[in-house]
Structures are given as C-alpha cells and as structure tokens.
C-alpha cells in the first residue's frame, strides 16, 4: 500500500483508470458473448424445431425414398443433419447411416398426449457437440418418435471467434485508455507542477511573487488563489516584522549606546566619588529605559501570541475613567493643562478592567504629551444609538494629518512632524492601546476635533452586543 502511495498522482490516476476500465470491459465482453451465445442457441433451436416439423411430414412407414433422401442426402452446402426414428413401443426404426453406433439418445419415454419438444445437447464419441430435438407425432395412426440433430460446433466456433477478436483487441484498447488517461491526468495536473515550481522559488527575498492562477474557476485555480492570499498575508506580516525588528533594534540600541558612552567617559581619567555616582546613576537610568522597553515588547509579544487572556468583569466605566483621569491629573498640571471628565453617572461595561485602565491611561498620557501647555483635555463616555460604548479623549494638540492616522497605532510609529520637544516615549503606547481595544472586539480611531486638536475614539461593544 505504501508503494502505491509513493507513486505520483498522475501514474496512480492512470493505473486506476485503466484498471477500472479493464474490469468494465471484461464484464462487458463476457456479458455480450453470453448474450450472443444464448441468441445463437435460441435461433438454432427454432430452426431445428421447424426442420423437425417438416421432416415429420415425411415420416411414413415403411420409409420411402423421399424420406431417406431427405435425411440421408449429404449436401455439403447444406448443414449436416442426422435423424433417428423410434416406434411408440421404444424400438429403433431408423437411424441415419452416418451415425453408425452413435445414438441420439435413449429410447423415448412412452408417448403422452402433449406434443412436447425435447431438446438436449449431446457430446458425440468423436468429441463433437450436437443439438438434438425429439418429438412424438402420429403417422397413420401410430405414434412415432422422431429425433433430429445438427452440429453445435459452428455455434461454438462463432462464439470463440468473437471472443478471440474481442480479447485480442482489448489489450490494445487498454493501452489506448492508459495513454489517454495519462495524457488527460497530466494535463489536469499541470497547474500543480507549475504552482509547485513557482512556490519553490518563492523565498524571503521575493515574497511578492505569486502562484499562477490558470483558471480561477476550477479547484486548482481556487487552490492557487488561496495560496496567493496566504502569501499576501505572510508578505504583509513579514514586512511588518522586518520593520518592527529594525525599529526595535534602533530603540534598543539607543539606551545601550548611551550606557556605553556614559560608562566609557566615566572611566576616562580620575573622577570624584560624586562624579562616579553620577555616571552609575545615569547608566541605571538608561537601564531602566531598556527594561521599560523590553517590558512593553514582551506585553505585545504575549498579546500577539494570544497568551494574554481577558479577565472580564462587569464594572462602572465612568468610575474607571474618573479614577484614571485623577491619576493622570498631576501630569497635566505639570504642563498647566486641565483634564475635564464628562461621563454619565452609570454606564456598565463588561471588560478586563486592568487592561482597559491601561488603554485609557495610554490615551490620556498621549494627550498630555502631545498637547501644548495651558490647553485642556476632555475625556467623555457615551452610548451610541447602535449600542456601542464610546470613550473619547479629546485634545487641543496640533492634530494628526489624515495620512498618519493609521500609522500612529503601529509599533514604534511616531509622527515625526508632531514630535513634541521633551515628549519622549517608546512609540509603543498607542499600539498597546490598540491591542487592548481590539482584544475587546472594539476599535480605536483618531479624527479631527472641533476647531483644532484630535479626538481619539474607542468604540466598544456594549453589554447588549458584546461577544459571548
């Protein structure tokens, strides 16, 4: 069975097809020969019966010349026919001379009223096969049993001739069938070869290559299209990964470089104790930065790996928003910004409170960082007509050009034009926000605020239409 499985599909299809066809052909040949044989036999029996009835007319006792002529004549053009006549009491009255001792059957049973015809096949001593038919009839008031026999050999000859012809031809037919099956399956499978050849050539360097779709409507075309779809996604995530790796290594290198140079400078010449403390402290600060970055990257990679299950609970969203705004209030005060919270008294939400808190913290932190001093930040919560829960964080910053509105949620993406002096983040904050919101089957989008500034809107499914 494994040997069979190791064969290429094309060969297997061909063999299977040929074997099935051969089997069907064999059944067909046997069936038609049998049918043909029966037909010939029936025909022969019918002719034989007619002959018997004709000859019965000539059976007159004593046998006259005409009868003898009829049954003795040996015309090579006509077919050979033997005859036997029995009397009603079972004595042989006549037997064709050529028969010699060969009987055409035992003495007939006593005559009965039915005029039945008694058929039988007989094997002569010389090995030839004969068909015999016998019947009683009345000749001048006396019951006479007449038997005639004709050779069955021509019939067998015809059947065997037909069988020979058919069986000689069938290997040829099978070869033709195999060849056509091989050809057809080859043609049907050719797109697979092509796809495989193309797929083999696709590597990280040419991920934009696609498999050929020969016929988009058939199964193989569908398969190729599906693979192309897969390649597209692989390509996209590969690009993302490449970008991410480049960005991450840049972000990781920055603190590493700082640590190294601070350390090197510190070791040059002799310094006082307080100078050394300064150097070590500075290195520890960079270490802290690195730790923070790694922490965030780990969070995102765990999130990507789906290893950050949501711990949902039902809580009052306005409480969480007020608490978060309170927490961040001191940061806003530093920039003389004000945070105003506009939320309904009660708005229940089923979500992972800790994660959602982190998301709101991230959005408010972002607003504080990128808004000018003395501006105000508004945080609101509301329920939309279709049951979605909106959390809006509205700032009076410079706004974000439409072309960057998707990008700012990407990892390490910071819109250069809007990088504010002193606002140094890892560039991961908003992508963590987006991950958290997506994990809750929600969306986060940024749009223009009234006048100026931006609105970051988180839309979450409400309790009514939250996924189970």
């Amino acid at each position: 069975m494994t040997a069979w499985k190791n064969l290429p599909i094309r060969i297997r299809l061909t063999l299977l097809h040929t074997m099935l066809f051969g089997g069907i052909m064999l059944l067909f040949v046997i069936g038609s020969l049998g049918f043909f044989f029966l037909y010939l036999k029936q025909h022969q029996d019918a002719v034989l019966k007619e002959d018997l009835e004709v000859i019965q007319q000539f059976v007159r006792l004593p046998f006259d010349a005409e009868f003898k002529d009829l049954v003795q004549s040996h015309d090579p053009q006509k077919y050979e026919r033997f005859c036997e006549v029995w009397s009603g009491d079972g004595s042989l009255l006549f037997r064709s001379q050529d028969l010699g001792d060969q009987a055409l059957g035992p003495a007939p049973a006593a005559a009965d009223s039915t005029k039945s015809f008694n058929y039988q096949s007989l094997l002569f001593a010389d090995g030839t096969r004969w068909r015999v038919v016998g019947s009683y009839h009345r000749s001048r008031g006396e019951a006479v049993f007449l038997r005639i026999a004709v050779s069955e050999e021509p019939l067998y000859d015809e059947i065997s001739d037909a069988a020979v012809v058919l069986l000689t031809l069938s290997p040829l037919v099978l070869v033709l069938v195999a060849a056509s099956a091989y050809y057809v399956s080859g043609r049907m499978l050719s797109p697979v070869e092509l796809m495989a050849a193309t797929a083999r050539k696709i590597s990280a360097e040419n991920l934009d290559d696609r498999l050929p779709v020969l016929n988009p409507k058939d199964e193989l075309g569908l398969l190729a299209a599906t693979f192309n779809d897969l390649l597209e996604r692989v390509h996209r995530s590969f690009d993302q990964l490449k970008r991410f790796t480049a960005d991450a290594s840049h972000e990781l290198r920055t603190p590493l470089t700082a640590m190294r140079s601070v350390g090197e400078i510190g070791l040059q010449g002799t310094s006082t104790e307080s100078e050394y403390r300064e150097v070590i402290g500075s290195m520890l600060e960079e270490n802290e930065r690195l730790t923070d970055l790694v922490e965030k990257l780990l969070f995102l990679s765990r999130a990507d790996g789906g290893r950050l299950p949501l711990d949902r609970s039902l809580f009052n969203l306005p409480d969480l928003i007020r608490e978060t705004a309170d927490l961040m209030g001191v940061l806003a005060e530093e920039k003389k910004q004000s945070i105003s919270v506009n939320v309904p008294g009660v708005l229940p939400l089923s979500a992972d409170r800790g994660l959602l808190r982190q998301a709101i913290l991230g959005l408010i932190d972002n607003a504080i960082k990128y808004s000018p001093d003395h501006s105000s930040i508004r945080v609101t919560a509301s329920v939309s007509g279709n049951g979605l829960i909106y959390i809006d964080v509205i700032n009076e910053g410079p706004g974000i050009p439409p072309e960057f509105r998707e990008e700012i949620f990407e990892r390490f993406a910071r819109v250069k034009a809007h990088e504010v002096e002193g606002a140094r983040g890892t560039g991961l904050g908003l992508s963590i926000v987006r991950w958290i919101v997506h994990a809750h089957a929600g969306t986060v989008q940024v749009s223009d605020g009234e006048g100026h500034g931006s609105v970051f809107r988180v839309a979450l499914p409400g309790p009514g239409n939250s996924p189970a």
Partner: protein
C-alpha cells in the same frame, strides 16, 4: 540592619549577578553562600542551615523548579524567593504552586529584593507605631497629619500615602516599581505611572523639604527614592 546575621543561599549561575547579590547581601549583614548550579544548590539547601534561599530558575545541571520541588518533597522548609527571567504568568503560578514563597522578575532592583526578603522573613515593619518620624518630620498614623519641626505640612491624600510608605521604609531605597505596586496598587508595568510617581515625589519634596536646611527626601538616580536624614 534588619537582615543582619541572616544565612542566605544564592543559587544563581550567572557569575556577575551572583557576585553582585553576594556583595549587596554582605553589606546588609547577611552570611551568603553561593551555588552556581542546580545540583550544587540542591545539596547546599539539603543541609538545611539557611534562613532564606534565592533561587534562579534557569540553571545548568538541574532546573530551578525541579530543585524546588525536590526540596519541598524532602521537607526543606526554608523560605524560597525565586528569581526568574522567564516572565510569563504560567511560570509565576507554577513557581508559587511548587512551593516558592515569592518571585522577582529579572531585572530587579536590589532595593526591591531586600524589601521582599524582609517581608518574607516577617522582619519588616509589623510594628506600626502611632507616630512615625524621620528627623523632625513626623506623621501621626491615626490622624494622618504631618508636621515638620512642629509646623503642620498640608499634603493631599495621595501624598500622605506616599510619605507613609517612604517613612515605613526609611533609610531604604524604594524603587518606582515598589511604589507603583504598594501605593498605587498597580500591577501592570507597561504604564505611564512612573511619570505620575515622579510628579508626586516632586510635590512632596517641595512641601516637606523646601526652605529647610536638612533635606530628607532624596532621589537616587537610576534606582528610586529614599527618605533619610543621613546623606545617601
């Protein structure tokens, strides 16, 4: 010092980390024994003469968790503080189920390690007295009123919480991570909380130290903060 005379076994294969831990713990007055493989750590621990075991999880020869499991089976009951660079929830749970008493994720601040050790050994500040004092700064724990040199200092609720925590850990460095966890009760680390803490510290310092000849609240660069009358 609280940890004076404490016998500590440090099972850690990373030489630099092990040496740093040894150095730091010696300064705290501990008696330190180093083991650099799981096997070695296991046999040292089996002697049962340690008050506390610091156990790294990624060890050569024998995995840290396995060592811990075997130790617990053999009824070695010394408290174990697991140090791990594996930062996943499952590992933490597994570690605690296996019999660890606490865990710290690498990288950690030494100050945090010391604080955890004290908690583990219940040598911390169980005895909260009515009045906490550092130099002339006093906090009445019942009324939460604060005075400096007898003059009332008006603090917000959060600033008071922060000061209380710093006073409970007086003369010890506390890290931002410790403050975030113990004062803000925030377990997630990927948050902008550090900035919030810095601002509160700045406010607190202004109210407590501004215009005083002796400064009490100090920033230790790259590590955290310390409330002390000694110069750090």
């Amino acid at each position: 010092m609280d940890l004076t005379g404490l016998r500590v076994l440090v099972v850690e294969d990373e030489r630099k980390v092990a040496r740093a831990l040894q150095e730091g713990l010696l300064r705290e007055g501990c008696v330190v024994k180093l083991a650099s493989s799981g096997e070695e750590g296991f046999f040292e621990a089996m002697s049962g003469e340690f008050d506390l075991i610091l156990l790294d999880l990624n060890l050569p020869a024998r995995d840290g968790l396995e060592v811990l499991q075997t130790l617990r089976k053999r009824r070695v009951s010394s408290p174990v503080l697991v140090l791990t660079a594996r930062d996943s929830v499952e590992d933490r749970v597994l570690g605690l189920e296996t019999g660890a008493d606490d865990y710290l994720t690498k990288p950690f601040a030494f100050a945090e390690l010391v604080a955890r050790m004290k908690v583990l050994l219940r040598r911390g500040h169980d005895d909260v007295s009515d009045t906490l004092a550092v130099s002339d700064l006093e906090l009445q724990s019942a009324t939460r009123s604060v005075t400096r040199n007898g003059v009332p200092v008006h603090l917000t609720a959060k600033e008071t919480d922060l000061l209380l925590y710093l006073m409970l850990h007086k003369d010890q460095i506390v890290t931002r991570a410790m403050i975030a966890r113990d004062v803000w009760h925030d377990t997630q680390r990927a948050t902008p909380l550090d900035n919030v803490i810095d601002v509160h510290i700045a406010h607190l310092r202004k109210k407590v130290d501004d215009g005083r000849p002796v400064k009490l609240l100090h920033t230790v660069r790259g590590i955290g903060f310390v409330l002390t009358q000694k110069k750090p």
